[in-house]
């Protein structure tokens, strides 16, 4: 292989008329249709597009990592080396050594049974030829560089012992081990919490500056691109629709698709679009929860069992006709809270009241007729639909159970009506879930929940598995349904920007406890709790002028284990304002103004 010599701005990686095709049982599918791109030295290229746009496949093809049934044609030049059509042995001299790669899911990208330290050391031994001893020392330095906490201990840990954010840092350390000239990051933060995402993005920005490394950032999220990329290429259906300087594209997009993408992204820093109608407080709340706790027994050793407090003394009222958002990082107990409120999980203690009736003493049998008033929509739109039933059967099932007297014809009519109502066409009735797109599946999920005209709809991360433009459509659908039916929505989400669009009030949860409860009009403008502030500042904004400054404010640390929560205020270990008192006393949930509650010792002074 010839030595790689870069003149000042010869591109590091150049793709020319790259095509990727897959042979499937249904014939040849074109994933990438002739794209041309170049990555300049020391710059970051953001490749943006929705799923199926072919953005990952283009770069996998360039690195020779396509699935066996994929074929690539065209040219991909790294420095002066042509990559397409090379044997794996030849490619191995580029992959890992000159080009580092980071993928979305750090759990499946790491080998489960090898110490993290050895996984970082391996490319050094393979490519650079240093001894294992030397490689481990360098691995330790890399872990420090990627700001892994407690790196000495991490070296001897296995991937499953690390949190998602830590794993992604380890992946970064592996990719950086041989000091590559190019880093390809494929959705590096999509599986992470916003707070951790902000930390990883800040780290990437640092590394890029410090090592003058080129970077390809593949993502669906324009906000992620905004702070990092110098140039942006927008892909759709295997083609590049728009390409150019990041600022120009985000500020004044020319292609309608780019414009549509930017409009679909809710902005956390934008003023609230409309003041939501005041919720009806006169009527009895259809769902209320007081002092609810859910503990899970976790086996620890042979006999002893540890208690995991997933939800710890939470109270809230879901008023008639209002949307209440429950937000927090993953593992904070928000899904458990939603499920316990529906009694899909038994609460350990506390009261749950449905339409004025306390349910904890009712048997599963007595509960069944009441269930029609409270329905749920799940995160994974495909997994929540029975794979062996058609859409028509799925939608008819709730009616079969709760309205037995309905004739078949009336039932069909009702199903059809509901289907139209969620924006689907009747020709989908005989389809099976696997034949629908993700957005269509989620609409069916919503239709199934709505077909009984419930008074409460619980949405558990209903849009986080969907593409941005589909997210917007589903949120708009929920807003429309709520306005027309007057139902209440309990909206569980880690995405604050989406919550802001939909919800009148927001409950912020951390390690199973309520940190703050406030009307969204106030919460997003003037957050009282430090945790709420951290959450808000972590959400990336698709604006290259604002976003770099937001990196600087990202929070340190990750949530502690719920098995061993900190004493006093649970947030104190990450709180920049923590004082002595926060360690000793649990802050009570205090009234702060007419409609707000906050659990912080220092909210008045901060």
């Amino acid at each position: 292989m010839p030595a790689l010599v870069h003149t000042s701005d010869a591109p590091v990686l150049r793709l020319e008329n790259l095509h990727v095709d897959f042979d499937t049982s249904r014939g040849r599918v074109a994933a990438v249709r002739g794209i041309s791109l170049s990555v300049k030295p020391g710059e970051c290229l953001g490749v943006v597009g929705e799923s199926g746009a072919g953005k990952s496949q283009a770069f996998l093809a360039a690195m020779g990592l396509l699935a066996p049934n994929g074929t690539a044609s065209g040219r991909a030049t790294f420095g002066t080396t042509e990559l397409i059509g090379r044997t794996p042995a030849e490619l191995d001299r580029v992959r890992g050594l000159k080009v580092g790669m980071v993928f979305q899911d750090p759990m499946t990208s790491l080998t489960p049974h090898i110490h993290v330290g050895d996984q970082i050391a391996e490319p050094l031994v393979m490519h650079v030829g240093v001894t294992w001893r030397e490689a481990r020392l360098r691995a330790l330095a890399l872990l420090r560089r990627t700001r892994v906490t407690d790196p000495e201990r991490r070296m001897k840990q296995y991937p499953h012992e690390l949190s998602g954010g830590m794993r992604q840092r380890v992946m970064l350390a592996i990719a950086l081990a041989c000091e590559p000239t190019l880093l390809i990051a494929d959705e590096p933060t999509t599986a992470l919490d916003v707070t951790v995402q902000a930390q990883i993005l800040a780290l990437l920005a640092d590394l890029k500056r410090e090592r003058a490394m080129s970077m390809v950032l593949i993502t669906h999220d324009l906000g992620v691109v905004a702070g990092l990329a110098n140039e942006v290429a927008v892909m759709r259906e295997g083609q590049i629709v728009e390409q150019g300087e990041a600022g120009a594209i985000l500020k004044s997009p020319r292609h309608p698709y780019t414009r549509q993408l930017i409009e679909a992204m809710p902005r956390i820093d934008a003023p609230a679009a409309e003041i939501a109608p005041a919720a009806d407080t006169a009527q009895a709340p259809p769902l209320s929860v007081s002092d609810l706790s859910v503990n899970f027994g976790v086996r620890k050793g042979l006999v002893s069992r540890a208690k995991l407090r997933a939800v710890d003394g939470v109270s809230f009222e879901l008023r008639s006709g209002e949307a209440l958002g429950i937000v927090g990082e993953s593992g904070c107990g928000k899904s458990t809270l939603a499920r316990a409120a529906l009694r899909l999980i038994r609460a350990t203690s506390g009261r749950v009241v449905w339409m004025g009736r306390s349910i904890e003493r009712l048997s599963a049998h007595e509960l069944r007729p009441m269930r029609r008033e409270l329905q749920i929509v799940f995160q994974d739109p495909l997994a929540s639909l029975e794979p062996r039933m058609t859409v028509a059967q799925i939608l008819a099932e709730p009616l079969r159970i709760h309205q037995r007297k309905l004739t078949a014809a009336a039932r069909d009519a009702e199903v059809l009506e509901m289907l139209r109502h969620v924006g689907l066409t009747p020709d989908l009735l005989e389809r099976y879930p696997h034949e629908l797109s993700g957005g269509q599946c989620q609409r069916v999920g919503i239709a199934r929940a709505m077909v009984l005209k419930p008074r409460v709809l619980v949405c558990d991360e209903p849009v986080s598995a969907l593409d941005v433009s589909v997210q917007k459509q589903v949120v708009d659908l929920l807003i429309a349904l709520k306005r027309e039916t007057g139902m209440s929505i309990l909206f569980v989400s880690h995405n604050l920007a989406v919550v802001k669009q939909l919800c009148e009030r927001v409950l912020v949860l951390y390690l199973g406890r309520v940190m703050e409860l406030a009307p969204s009009a106030e919460l997003f403008v003037r957050p009282l709790h430090p945790y709420t502030r951290e959450l808000l500042s972590a959400v990336p904004v698709a604006d290259p002028e604002v976003q770099p400054a937001r990196f600087a404010r990202s929070v340190a640390g990750e949530p502690p284990s719920p098995l061993d929560p900190p004493s006093g205020c649970v947030f104190r270990t990450r709180c920049p304002h923590a004082i002595e008192r926060c360690r000793d006393q649990v802050p009570p949930l205090e009234q702060a103004g007419d409609h707000r509650q906050v659990a912080c010792h220092r909210w008045r002074e901060l």
Binding site: F22, L65, V475
Partner: protein
């Protein structure tokens, strides 16, 4: 819903022309059938099994010999088309062609019926234990463990004495009674995995009762793995029956199963190898066919093990390209 007007947020989700969308609707079953139909080996194996079964049903009725007719002129006659005994005769002059086909009848019958018994009990036991969970699950599965711990030959001998040796119904029950334990464990494991799936949770949230969930949502999703397991159980059962007959605990003279024929043939292996070869060959072909069918079924029911990726779906969080990190490459 008539009072509602269509929401503003409607419209098509996926502007991209999805190849899947343009196809006629296909249930998961139809898809599996289509994939199975494309598997040459499995189809050939099916054809062979059907052929052998047909021969076993028709053969003995058209042959001039009965399975227990003694032909004194041809004792231990070698096979050949010149005599009327195509596969020769045994020491007592009984026609081996008819006896082998009789053996296939009995072996297939036992294989199918014993599998059916084990699937029915195992499916019911395993799905109830798995779905109920908690103490019920513990009790039911410990019962299975206890039965597992008993040496099955011991069980078989008890049953055989109870029903009388050579009682065919008894034999089905014995073999089925041993076979359902594994089925129950497999079904329970699958049910536990299914129970946590969101569509089951959705059914519970809708208010579907436990029997309804089991019947409409759990069992249909178990049919795939269970059918697969059953095809792989049939040869096991046939083999087990052969083993019992070999030990003299199974089918009794003058009736024959493939196992007892092989047992008889093994005694004459030195002087009259055809007595062993014919039934042994048929048994081997049958077992191979069932295993091929099982393989084909697995590929058809679980396409994730094959290489073709699914066309683009609008899903982001789960599922990523199946590639290793650069570090783990050799």
């Amino acid at each position: 819903m008539s009072e509602l007007s269509p929401p503003t947020g409607g419209g098509a989700d996926a502007p991209a022309p999805d190849p899947v969308q343009q196809m006629a609707s296909q249930s998961p079953w139809r898809q599996a059938a289509r994939r199975f139909g494309g598997d040459g080996k499995a189809l050939l194996a099916c054809a062979l099994v059907v052929l052998i079964a047909l021969m076993a049903i028709v053969g003995p009725t058209v042959s001039p010999f009965h399975y227990d007719t003694l032909d004194w002129q041809h004792l231990a006659a070698p096979p050949g088309l010149h005599s009327s005994h195509w596969l020769g005769t045994d020491r007592l002059g009984r026609d081996l062609f008819v006896r082998t086909l009789y053996g296939v009848r009995i072996s297939l019958l036992i294989g199918l019926l014993a599998t059916a018994v084990s699937v029915v009990i195992g499916l019911a036991w395993g799905s109830i234990a798995g779905y109920a969970g908690g103490r019920t699950d513990d009790l039911m599965m410990r019962f299975v463990d206890v039965l597992y711990a008993l040496p099955y030959l011991f069980l078989v001998i008890i049953f055989a004495t109870f029903f009388g040796r050579g009682n065919l119904v008894g034999l089905f029950l014995v073999i089925g009674a041993v076979g359902w334990l594994t089925t129950a464990r497999i079904v329970r494991g699958q049910t536990l995995a299914l129970k946590r799936r969101e569509f089951i949770e959705a059914a519970r949230a809708t208010g579907v009762g436990t029997p309804g969930i089991l019947w409409r949502h759990v069992i249909p999703n178990l049919v795939g793995p269970v059918a697969l397991y059953a095809t792989l159980t049939i040869p096991d059962m046939i083999l087990f029956e052969s083993f019992l007959s070999f030990l003299g605990l199974g089918v009794q003279e003058p009736l024959a199963s493939l196992g007892s024929l092989i047992n008889d043939g093994a005694h004459e292996m030195q002087s009259a190898s055809w007595m062993l070869l014919a039934p042994a060959l048929v048994l081997s072909v049958l077992l191979l066919c069932f295993n091929l069918i099982g393989d084909g079924l697995r590929d058809a029911l679980d396409p994730s093990t094959s290489v073709a990726p699914r066309p683009a779906q609008v899903r982001r969080r789960p599922a990523r390209p199946r590639v290793d990190p650069p570090a783990s490459e050799p």
